[in-house]
């Protein structure tokens, strides 16, 4: 019988992330860090921290790891690595080096671990980065991810607090992986749909970052654990603007709405909605299932970019040519008015 990593995860379908509201509380008492070389710190909850080395060179550092989100160990290694690398791309950078972060059960075959690490290695290579080593400890539920160092020119940093009224919002991948994974685990969908989601999670945001730099995009984030609406809320808050989304334009995997209607709603969606819901306003025509979809936690999701209006069509066609066929204009940025996110 083929080994299924998801069988080792008892929380499957209920995301492993600490609720954002709790996290914010825990972090609020920590001393503030300031340093002349620190260009992007933890204040704005950006994807990574940026440290200036000199006027032409800044380091981006980030890390991410989590329990299995898919059945096959090699897939999992690739997904976890693509997800960790993604923070570098969300800030407009490219990858330099990476270190493995591994938690693995004592009593499971080491071949599985090898497959996971190979997946990670392959993605770091694809990113043009160098795997430098790592650290492994035992734990009942396997977890894998990377600590990553990348670089960006200090004048070309893309942050999550620089959206301007008039910008067009572009999303480069479909959403719904948080629904697809538990649906697959519980035998509710066919393998083809599951494969689509895994392939999407494995896809690096590397070319997305290149496209953003080509068109001088200044504000973006990758859509991950807080869901599209959660990340949009953070970005809009940080930028003091309102983001207006058109739900019908948001790219989403097949059957996701049907699955939500059945009740495939991971706990993370509720937590995300609790955290960001008050900053969001939903048109009354939007049904419950679509709202929940907007809070679906993504693993290795796409880039949500704020793009100059005149470049929007070019950005979309460049993204489509570079491996992101589902890229779409999903909304626009306006002056702040009452709520940070509006969805119709």
């Amino acid at each position: 019988m083929k080994f299924d990593l998801l069988k080792l995860v008892d929380q499957g379908g209920c995301s492993a992330k600490l609720p954002a509201a709790e996290l914010e509380k825990a972090l609020s008492g920590l001393p503030k860090i300031s340093h002349p070389n620190l260009l992007v710190d933890i204040e704005t909850h950006d994807d990574g921290g940026v440290y200036k080395i000199n006027d032409g060179y800044a380091l981006i550092q980030t890390t991410d790891f989590f329990p299995p989100v898919c059945s096959d160990p090699y897939d999992f290694g690739q997904v976890a690595a693509a997800n960790a690398l993604s923070d570098i791309y969300a800030m407009g950078g490219q990858v330099l080096t990476a270190m493995n972060l591994v938690l693995f059960p004592e009593n499971q075959p080491l071949d599985i671990l090898k497959e996971i690490l190979l997946g990670g290695h392959d993605k770091v290579s694809e990113a043009g980065g160098v795997m430098m080593g790592g650290h492994t400890i035992t734990d009942d539920i396997p977890k894998y991810g990377l600590a990553v160092t990348g670089w960006v020119h200090p004048n070309r940093i893309i942050t999550n607090d620089a959206a301007k009224p008039g910008d067009v919002l572009i999303l480069s991948k479909q959403i719904g992986t948080g629904v697809i994974i538990p649906a697959w685990k519980n035998g509710l969908i066919d393998e083809a749909l599951y494969r689509q989601a895994v392939d999407s999670m494995k896809l690096l945001n590397m070319h997305g970052a290149t496209v953003m730099q080509k068109y001088n995009v200044k504000c973006a984030t990758d859509v991950t654990g807080f869901g599209l609406a959660g990340h949009a809320t953070k970005m809009a808050k940080g930028s003091h603007v309102s983001m207006h989304f058109d739900a019908s334009k948001i790219p989403v995997f097949d059957k996701v709405i049907d699955l939500i209607d059945m009740g495939v709603i991971p706990g993370a969606s509720f937590r995300n909605k609790e955290f960001a819901g008050e900053d969001c306003s939903f048109d009354e025509t939007l049904d419950y299932n679509h709202k929940i979809m907007l809070f679906d936690a993504q693993t290795s999701g796409g880039l949500l970019m704020c793009v100059d209006k005149e470049n929007a069509d070019n950005v979309i066609s460049d993204l489509k040519e570079n491996g992101y066929p589902h890229s779409a204009i999903v909304g626009e940025v306006r002056e702040f008015d009452k709520k940070h996110v509006y969805v119709k």
Binding site: D10, Q11, G12, G13, C14, A21, K25, S28, G29, P31, P182, N186, D261, M262, G263, V264, I265, P266, G267, F270, K273, E274, G277, E278, C280, S281, F282, E284, L286, D287, Y288, K291
Partner: protein, 202 residues
């Protein structure tokens, strides 16, 4: 009463079964859900709250029993205006603001003794305050010569954050005399008071 037993089933199966039951059960008919893991139970109650479906929840040992009162609402027509009003449950927390080094007006001597007694008493309050903020002459309680340093040390060791107004230390020229607590600014102080469920102001 119809019973849905989802013990041993992981999220999101309990919610899937609940939604099925909501569609199948007749108007004003109650049904019971049995769940044995808190995460799945929370998922179900979150959904019920979101959609304003009334229920009662009981816990017996490991088993959580949720009785749903199905009002036969069409889920698609549920009033969604409550969307943004989801209650966030927070653990009980309060902060103490000490903007004077004594309590009350009248006798200074008595006021100082009362301040000492109050800080001593705080140790017995359950839960402890999350933060104590020292402002204006309140900073005399955290500098050299204060008689309550031991009690403050006990509070700090037990997780209470002691926040001291830096401007106030400066004003009284006591920055170098600070014995305990973290020097901070007005933003931090105002934010702490805003985030607290209660502020005790002495």
């Amino acid at each position: 009463m119809k019973t849905i037993d989802v013990k041993g089933k992981q999220c999101p199966l309990p919610l899937i079964e609940t939604k099925k039951a909501l569609k199948e059960t007749g108007e004003n008919e109650n049904f019971k859900i049995l769940i044995d893991n808190p995460t799945s139970a929370k998922n179900v109650t979150h959904f019920l709250n979101d959609n304003q479906i009334s229920y009662t929840e009981n816990k017996t040992g490991e088993i959580i029993e949720i009785i749903v009162n199905n009002q036969g609402e069409n889920l698609d027509e549920v009033d969604e205006t409550a969307w943004c009003a989801v209650e966030i449950t927070q653990p009980e927390n309060f902060v103490v603001l000490l903007a004077k080094d004594r309590l009350g007006e009248g006798s200074d001597e008595l006021g100082e003794a009362l301040a000492g007694a109050m800080i001593n008493t705080l140790k017995a309050i359950e839960p402890l305050p999350t933060k104590i903020i020292f402002m204006n002459s309140g900073i005399n309680l955290v500098v050299k010569g204060s008689l309550v340093l031991d009690n403050l040390k006990y509070l700090q060791d037990n997780g209470v954050e002691l926040i001291v107004c830096g401007t106030c230390l400066d004003y009284f020229g006591k920055m170098d005399d600070l014995v305990i607590g973290r020097v901070s600014n007005m933003l931090d102080i105002v934010q702490s008071m805003k985030d607290a469920q209660k502020v005790l102001n002495f």
